[in-house]
């Protein structure tokens, strides 16, 4: 049928700019990077090495230690986000959406503001606040009699990563809040009224009626958090530098990729190993997205109103 109609040029005109830019700058380089991971350098020549780079990355002690460390740190970084960011975001959204709440717009805007700040600002100000020298945090803890709890959290190997994850949660909690708030607002009034007629109000209404309805939104937020976390770089870079100190305790895949690709101090940059790490990250993110799509998304009931 379609062939007999005249060719619809406008469809092509509408699609072309987006598809061209997206393909040229995103898809082609992505494939190029994956391809590059299969090559290595020998005497200035580019040679095909197959999966050799991956064997090095996972197996060679000079590389694998750093890789597994970065991956483990990244997993912890993500776990802290999941445990804190979503519950706090849901709580704030639930409170914001309570009927007849005054100043809701103000709270919403204020809580979203950290999200729009750049990592440079966020990293610097938290370093400042937590610094034992300048000492806002110590003196504030002092004021409530908890001075003894203070430690240079960003400088200790055992705390630094968790501290950074908490800072990141602080910065990004506005996104789950906003999306869940929107999801809560879009629940139709009839559903809520029916629940109230049945005597389901307050928190039990939240748990039994609203929460199941916003599960798809929580699912989307979780997968976006996963992708964002396993692709993170900036916060660690601005607050701990490319070496992800102290002693690589805060090294995640993003900083590991940066160091490998561009080199640092005495190590020269290596595009092939960089591409290999990028490919590994690609695999991890793809795996997460697939698990989400097939295991979670398909089981979530979609409610049509």
């Amino acid at each position: 049928m379609a062939e007999r109609k005249p060719f619809r040029w406008h469809v092509l005109v509408f699609l072309a700019p987006a598809v061209l830019v997206y393909t040229a700058i995103m898809i082609v380089p992505l494939i190029g990077t994956l391809n590059l991971s299969l090559y290595g350098r020998a005497g200035g020549e580019r040679v095909w090495v197959g999966l050799q780079n991956f064997a090095t990355l996972f197996g060679d002690p000079r590389w694998s230690g750093a890789f597994w460390n970065a991956l483990g740190n990244n997993a912890w970084f993500f776990l802290v986000h999941m445990l804190l960011q979503n519950p706090v975001g849901i709580l704030l959204a639930a409170l914001l959406s309570s009927p007849r709440l005054r100043m809701a717009a103000f709270y919403r805007t204020a809580i979203f503001i950290p999200t729009i700040l750049s990592f440079v600002i966020v990293g610097f100000v938290w370093k400042l606040i937590l610094s034992p020298i300048w000492g806002i945090a110590p003196s504030m803890l002092d004021a409530v009699g908890l001075r003894s709890l203070f430690a240079p959290w960003l400088g200790r190997e055992e705390y630094a990563l968790t501290t950074l994850a908490l800072i990141s949660v602080w910065q990004f909690v506005g996104i789950p809040m906003m999306l869940i708030y929107a999801a809560l607002l879009s629940i139709p009034d009839e559903v809520i009224e029916a629940a109230e007629i049945d005597g389901i109000t307050g928190w039990s209404q939240f748990w039994t009626i609203k929460l199941p309805l916003i599960l798809p939104a929580i699912g989307i937020i979780s997968i976006l958090t996963f992708v964002g976390n396993f692709n993170a770089f900036d916060l660690i870079y601005v607050s701990q530098g490319a070496l992800a100190g102290p002693n690589f305790a805060t090294d995640i895949l993003g900083t590991f990729l940066y160091r490998t690709f561009f080199g640092f101090q005495l190590q020269l940059g290596d595009p092939h190993m960089g591409a290999t790490i990028a490919t590994a990250m690609f695999g991890i993110i793809l795996l997460g997205v697939c698990i989400y799509l097939f295991a979670i998304q398909t089981r979530l009931r979609r409610y049509q109103f």
Partner: protein, 279 residues
């Protein structure tokens, strides 16, 4: 029944929690802005105090503005953000219109192809992007950044906008067609104005990562002439680590533009998200 009293208590509790969290969210911003307007001694002796007549001092702002580079960084960030945003919104809306309005072979596949980029970060292609930019001589130009950010923003824009455009009434468009309007006129005159809330949502979610990005400026355009404000303030912190007034003033100024842009768009933001982005 004490339903009224109960609900008052609930609302007080809600306000208490929200106000506490608002304080936590805004506290660091407060620290930067307040201290950027104080003399050096006051920054150290009492970091939490508001500036008083004795401690008020704009030396930080004077230093930063006298440096000159900072205004250039600002301009670079502005150009990159605004131009990328225009391209993302225009190209994204056009593609979304094609996908939601016309039935053609490969429609669904094309939608999926464009949506891939939401889940797969463009950063993973950096190695090849850099090689490509080197080969085409675009390294250290704002064009390189604009291209990358346009590509980065398109998937989400197409996804959100096509959800919305499906909701635009067919009667309206068909009435336009009967009146002899071309498809282009229908798109620009009838459909675009109707999806403004969605455009605002897309604008916020596109603009913030572009303005704040450190990775691509660091890799693709680190030269003095093309530094963005984010990269510039990062370098500034390193260089002037002893000049606290200047650093704090620089950071305070870096907050302003993105805050203004956010406040402009945010009114439409919730309406945009509610109407379909998450569904």
């Amino acid at each position: 029944m004490s339903a009224a009293r109960h609900s008052t208590a609930r609302s007080i509790a809600a306000h208490a929690i929200l106000a506490t969290y608002t304080l936590i969210a805004l506290f660091p911003v407060f620290v930067i802005v307040v201290n950027s307007m104080k003399s050096r001694r006051a920054i150290f002796s009492d970091p939490l105090a508001l500036p008083t007549r004795e401690t008020f001092d704009l030396v930080g702002y004077r230093t930063v503005l006298a440096q000159g580079d900072f205004l250039l960084y600002f301009q670079n960030s502005m150009i990159v953000t605004v131009v990328s945003l225009v391209f993302v919104l225009l190209f994204g809306a056009m593609a979304a219109f094609a996908l939601s309005e016309y039935r053609f072979r490969g429609n669904l596949l094309m939608g999926l192809y464009l949506a891939l980029g939401i889940m797969i970060p463009i950063r993973l292609g950096t190695v090849a992007i850099l090689q490509m930019m080197v080969a085409s001589g675009l390294v250290n130009t704002l064009t390189a950044l604009i291209l990358v950010y346009t590509a980065q923003g398109l998937p989400l824009a197409v996804f959100i906008l096509s959800e919305f455009m499906r909701g635009v009434s067919d009667d309206l468009k068909n009435a336009g067609r009967i009146d002899g309007l071309s498809e282009y006129t229908i798109f620009f005159r009838l459909v675009l104005p109707l999806v403004r809330p969605a455009m605002a949502t897309v604008a916020v979610f596109t603009m913030i990562p572009i303005w704040n990005d450190l990775w691509f400026p660091l890799i693709l355009a680190p030269s003095e002439a093309t530094k963005t404000i984010t990269l510039g303030s990062q370098v500034f912190i390193g260089q002037f680590v002893t000049n606290w007034n200047a650093v704090l003033a620089a950071l305070a100024m870096a907050i302003v533009p993105v805050l203004v842009l956010y406040l402009i768009f945010s009114r439409q933001l919730i309406r945009g998200i509610t109407a379909g982005a998450v569904k």
